[in-house]
């Protein structure tokens, strides 16, 4: 009696799983197939599901429309800001995890609050400042501004990670006369590597995806891929195929990273609130 019921509920569960998966994946399927359509096929009414694919959109966006350059810009910016965030964030996280000092709680609150601040609040003053400093349309301007969200991510995740390292290790090293810096560098940091890796991946994803700073601060030479994607939205002609080809090129790298870090993605996105 139990067996058929179990089988039926397994079936129901299987269907539910399939629906959930379809719900998540279908837009990507549509994105990729649209990117392989010519304009006429993309604008067919009703939409077509079977057609002869073409790589023309990719050829066009990569070689004629400078999407290739913008992807390289995105890569430079996202990698550099991530490296900088790790460089600055790891020691800070270590201090927050290990040392006791006045104002620690306030500092903590301040870091967390940054997660809430909308880029639109910062972008106009930053535009004016970058104009004064000659940083407009440079990678550096974006790399620095992206620290506003990458640095908090690194600090949170790594603080958590450092806390989980047994203190006995530090204390033993201390007795042997090692300096704090040495303990951090040689003992704790290697053990905290998983946290560093996860926060790096998240920093990279967030920087790669950012639009508003890129759109205002880097109009030309340093233009990143998301800003490039919106530049096809001319009211005169909406080239769906090209837009989707660019979108695919932008999204594929972050999806790969997200899948690599899938186990830790939720922890990162919730700033360590959920283990």
């Amino acid at each position: 009696m139990a067996a058929p019921m179990q089988a039926r509920s397994l079936w129901a569960e299987g269907i539910a799983l399939a629906l959930i998966g379809l719900f998540c994946v279908f837009p990507f399927y549509w994105m990729v197939t649209t990117s392989l359509k010519t304009q006429l096929v993309a604008l067919a009414d009703p939409p077509v599901w079977w057609f002869t694919p073409t790589l023309a959109n990719y050829r066009e966006v990569l070689f004629e429309d400078r999407v290739g350059v913008s992807l390289i810009n995105s890569l430079i910016v996202a990698t550099s800001t991530t490296a900088l965030a790790v460089l600055l964030g790891c020691p800070a996280a270590y201090a927050l995890a290990r040392f006791e000092f006045r104002g620690k709680t306030d500092l903590w609150f301040w870091f967390i609050t940054n997660r809430f601040v909308s880029p639109v609040v910062l972008v106009f003053p930053v535009f004016l400042i970058s104009r004064e400093l000659g940083l407009r349309d440079t990678h550096l301007a974006l790399i620095l501004m992206y620290l506003t969200f990458t640095l908090p991510i690194v600090i949170w995740i790594c603080t958590d990670q450092f806390r989980s390292i047994p203190r006995e290790l530090d204390e033993a090293a201390m007795l042997e006369g090692a300096s704090q810096w040495r303990i951090f560098r040689s003992i704790c940091l290697p053990l905290a590597m998983p946290g560093v890796a996860v926060s790096s991946i998240l920093s990279f994803i967030f920087s790669w995806n950012e639009l508003l700073f890129a759109y205002i601060l880097a109009p030309n030479a340093a233009k990143t891929a998301p800003a490039m994607a919106i530049s096809f939205m001319e009211g005169y002609d909406v080239p769906y195929g090209k837009i989707m080809a660019t979108s695919t090129l932008i999204v594929v790298p972050v999806l790969i990273f997200a899948l690599l870090a899938s186990k830790h993605l939720v922890r990162g996105l919730t700033m360590g609130a959920v283990k």
Binding site: E13, G14, I20, G21, C24, V25, P27, M31, L43, D45, P47, L88, P91, L96, R98, F99, E100, F101, T105, L107, I112, T113, R115, F116, S118, V120, V121, L122, V123, F124, P125, L128, I129, L147, T148, L151, M174, Q180, I205, N209, L211, L212, P226, A229, I230, M233, Y240, I243, M244, S247, I250, V251, F257, A258, L265, V266, L269, M271, A273, V274
Partner: protein
């Protein structure tokens, strides 16, 4: 318990990060505050002058600003409950034992929407929701529903934004809640299942208490993201038609970037920041209490 170390050492560890964040995060805010007391329009720079609180007065009496705040709140209260309900359902399915391989696969697919570039999500909406060429309308046609004008009608456009927000963030909510479910000690859960056959009772009395932290986290983060929501709407509707999807970040971008009124945009930003900080502090005190 924690070590006593010289202040100099602490400063050396934490100073660079604090300085960096102060330069990129705080200095621009101070600059914005300063500009918010000016008549400062990029296309009228010859006219710039100190105007005191005039920009704030304009914002506080501007119905567009408060409408945008109201719209942002409305988006939050309509999208987040749906995300929590669907997310919980998904989490409960994934939490059940069996079909391990398929569940791992489903979990991987859940990771995809939340990592997708937000601007691309909006572009996808344009392509898929188009009244004529959109695949969603084609699918609705299969079940006998007439094509819906998603982008062109104010109410539909708002609903479309909700739907798309639900698509992108329900998986996130599901994964957070799933992590919460796994904190329920297995022996307690099993004992409960032996006592009652109603999954609802198990959820209500056994699992829910363990889910509270996850739910609070979801509320906090969804609040922050809704206040920040820009990319997806910008590429999908640009706030239109009319004002229908003009959320707070979209409004500020329009004032600063298309009216070039940086002074007014700064005042709006400062007020929005004040709202954000109040909410953030409230939430953080509520939730991150144990941290200190």
């Amino acid at each position: 318990m924690t070590l006593r170390v010289p202040r100099r050492t602490i400063a050396a560890f934490i100073g660079p990060a604090v300085a960096a964040l102060a330069i990129v995060g705080v200095a621009p805010l101070l600059y914005a505050l300063w500009k918010s007391f000016h008549d400062f329009n990029l296309t009228q720079l010859a006219r710039q002058r100190w105007v005191g609180l005039q920009n704030y007065q304009t914002v506080l009496t501007d119905s567009d600003f408060w409408d945008a705040i109201g719209r942002t709140a409305l988006l939050f209260v309509s999208a987040v409950p749906v995300q929590i309900a669907l997310g919980l359902a998904i989490a409960l399915v994934l939490h059940r034992p069996g079909l391990t391989f398929w569940k791992t696969l489903t979990r991987l697919s859940l990771v995809l929407p939340m990592a997708t570039t937000y601007a691309v999500v909006g572009l996808l909406a344009q392509v898929m929701l188009n009244q004529k060429y959109g695949v969603i309308n084609q699918m609705l046609g299969w079940v006998g529903v007439d094509a819906i004008n998603f982008i062109g009608d104010p109410t539909n456009a708002f609903i479309a934004v909700i739907l798309w927000d639900v698509w992108q963030w329900t998986p996130f909510v599901a994964l957070v809640l799933l992590a919460g479910l796994s904190t329920v000690p297995p022996e307690i859960e099993e004992a409960a299942r032996l006592e009652t056959r109603s999954p609802w009772t198990v959820l209500r009395h056994v699992q829910l208490p363990f889910l509270i932290p996850s739910l609070v986290a979801v509320l906090i983060l969804r609040t922050a993201d809704t206040l920040k929501l820009f990319d997806m709407v910008f590429t999908m509707t640009r706030g239109g038609p009319g004002n229908a999807t003009e959320f707070i970040a979209i409004l500020i971008e329009r004032v600063g970037n298309r009216q070039f009124d940086i002074g007014l945009a700064a005042a709006q930003s400062i007020i929005m920041l004040a709202i954000t900080i109040v909410l953030a502090r409230l939430y953080i005190r509520l939730f991150y209490r144990e941290v200190s």
